[in-house]
Amino acid sequence: MLQSMESALDNHHPEYEYIEHTGDIGVRVFGRELKGLFENAGKAFFDILTERESIQPSLQKQIVVESHGWERLLVAWLSELLYLFEVDQWLFQTCEIRSLGENRVEAVGRGEHYAPDRHEIKTGIKAVTHHQLSIHKVNEIWEATIIFDV
């Protein structure tokens, strides 16, 4: 995996888990560092959308997103992934965070363009909401709750 060692969670800790929300899909994402948290949020995003393992990491895409504060930056980051899928049909197997600050994230997405014969779309994500959004640290692990409008 491309996830760097310092941001990796140990083997027993999930990278994210689903949480119940009647209308939509929610996830709780984890990371030892905020960098890992953003990377794992990207994984959750593409796992909801498709079978992430079916994505070949044959192409690279530089991604730069700016916002105001960690929580809004996380929504902006995932919204950028949605935008890249909708407009250029990008699917990323992994997203490596190269640099991360409170107002800016720089990343490299590795994947390919959506091919209906090879990629099954599981659930169409329509938006990344601010509803119940939170980022905090519990026992040395960063946690973020995100609800997707699907």
């Binding site: 689903y18 119940e20 929300h21 009647t22 209308g23 939509d24 899909i25 959308l49 916002s67 105001h68 929580e71 809004r72 902006a76 919204s79 935008y83 899928f85 909708e86 407009v87 049909q89 959506y114 209906p116 099954e120 779309i121 599981k122 659930t123 169409g124 329509k126 938006a127 990344v128 909401t129 601010h130 509803h131 119940q132 959004l133 939170s134 609800i147 409008d149 699907v150």
Partner: protein, 485 residues
């Protein structure tokens, strides 16, 4: 800013109304339309907290309302209706939702059930071919350039009619004639415009659908006659919205509103309720951008309506006049509008948010089509894919009690995840076929997530709206064939 953990207390007003008494930072009471059984279900999630949260926003007029299909949304509950004065009152993108002008159109026809039974499979296949559906689908025959997109955003359904998609008389049967005034495309981000262009003329995914149905029951013969509905008559319903463009407009403006709320000193019980005064630059800009997305959605449904008509002509090899697929009406389910009501004995303009709710103006209202003025505005309520949909009419009571609003649909009771679990190992498409309903979908998962059990029975929702007097029943439609996005 997490929501309060506990559900607020509710008091029963009568058989169909409940009150959340004003307390804490609430500026008014919450009123929920529901019966006893529904209220028990409603209390299982956090939607009542959301009704109370909306009651905290500045300038709210009357009550924070919830229609009988209320369920947990983000920020506003789905089924939420709230009006704000134009002085210090606010407009909130979360009170409209991501899918701006997600809505429904209904066409009637001269056909009876027996006329198309043998051709149903062909019809739904033709519609599937003619209307791209599902995530990532694109239209090949309609490419929207930037100049055309501006026309769509400013003129709405009239643009589609001018391009030959549908007829001039369709426009009279669309809420606001398919165009909300004041739309300004210059306020849209490059991203919003880019997301809109490839998605024009596509259905989308999730709960969006095209449904061929027949009239199963008529509750009001005179109104049904005016609308062109007869027993066993074939109808087509289209449920779709403003696609990625509307979502981007919502997202862009939420971001602006988060800063604006701080700037204007508005305390937000939930970040998703981000808002700004209606009269502020941010408020006005949102309404002008929202109008663009609403007009995109009106255009989109107008285009799809045209392709449905074309599909019927191709398969049945009959003329358009012969088939007679005329537009009954097209309504918004997610919208904010400046409308006029009598409040405390005086005519006042307010900004009404309908988040999963339908305008329900009564007979003789000047904003409804001339040919419906004797009966009231048609209200279109889709159910789940396995049961039925309803046609209702607006009432005077809606005008006085709910800012001319009523319910919009069934409302989910199960999350998509739960629905998938319940449906595991079952052949849902086959089950539906056994019940006489053909289902066509680009992917299997949507169908599984949209099983009937995942939704409230829309008949209960409609019964409460009817008994409470905020709309009245005209007809029930049962599905014959459905294209799910």
């Amino acid at each position: 800013m997490p929501e309060a953990a506990a559900n607020p207390k509710v008091q029963k007003i009568d058989d169909y109304r409940w009150r959340i008494p004003r307390e804490g930072k609430m500026r008014t009471d919450g009123i929920i339309y529901a019966d006893q059984q529904m209220m028990e279900d409603i209390q299982r999630d956090m939607s009542l907290v959301q009704v109370a949260n909306v009651a905290c926003l500045p300038g709210i007029v009357g009550h924070s309302l919830a229609m009988p299909d209320i369920h947990w949304g983000y920020g506003f509950p789905i089924g939420g209706v709230a009006a704000f004065n134009l002085d210090e009152g606010v407009v909130s993108p979360g009170g409209v939702g991501y899918d701006i002008n997600c809505g429904v159109q209904l066409m009637r026809s001269n056909l009876r059930k027996g006329d198309i039974q043998a051709d149903l499979q062909k019809l739904i296949e033709a519609i599937f071919r003619n209307i791209p559906s599902g995530v990532g689908s694109r239209r090949k025959d309609l490419k929207l350039g930037p100049a055309d997109e501006r026309e769509v955003l400013t003129r709405g359904a009239a643009w589609a009619v001018q391009q030959g998609y549908g007829a001039e008389q369709d426009l009279a049967h669309i809420e606001d004639r398919g165009c909300i005034a004041g739309a300004d495309p210059d306020l849209l981000s490059k991203k919003a415009l880019e997301r809109g262009r490839p998605e024009i003329g596509t259905l989308g995914s999730g709960n969006h659908f095209v449904e061929i149905a027949s009239v199963a029951e008529i509750f009001d013969m005179e109104a049904a006659r005016v609308l062109g509905l007869e027993p066993d008559g074939i109808t087509v319903m289209i449920h779709s919205g403003s696609r990625g463009l509307g979502h981007q407009v919502c997202e862009d403006n939420l971001d602006v509103m988060l800063d604006a709320a701080q700037k204007y000193g508005i305390e937000l019980p939930d970040r998703q309720l981000a808002c700004a005064p209606v009269q502020s630059k941010e408020g006005k800009n949102y309404l002008a951008a929202m109008a663009c997305a609403a007009n995109f959605a009106f255009t989109n449904r107008q285009l799809m309506g045209h392709w449905v008509r074309q599909s019927f002509q191709q398969v049945l090899d009959r003329s358009a006049q012969d088939i007679g697929l005329d537009l009954i009406y097209d309504v918004c389910h997610n919208i904010a509008k400046i409308e006029e009501f009598i409040i405390d004995g005086q005519k006042r303009k307010v900004c009404v948010h309908r988040k999963g709710a339908t305008r329900a103006f009564p007979a003789h209202h000047p904003l409804i089509p001339a040919d419906y003025r004797s009966i009231g505005q048609p209200v279109l309520i889709p159910g789940d894919m396995g049961r039925y949909s309803f046609v209702l009419l607006g009432t005077e009571k809606a005008m006085t009690d709910t800012f001319g609003s009523t319910c919009h649909g069934a409302g989910r009771v199960m999350s998509r995840h739960q629905a998938a679990k319940v449906a595991k190992g079952r052949a849902i498409i086959r089950e539906m076929e056994d019940r006489g309903i053909l289902v066509r979908s680009p992917g299997k998962r949507t169908v599984v997530e949209e099983i009937s059990e995942a939704y409230k029975d829309v008949a209960d929702v409609v019964r409460v709206a009817h008994e409470a007097g905020i709309s009245r029943k005209v007809a029930k439609l049962t599905p014959l064939a459905v294209l799910k996005g």
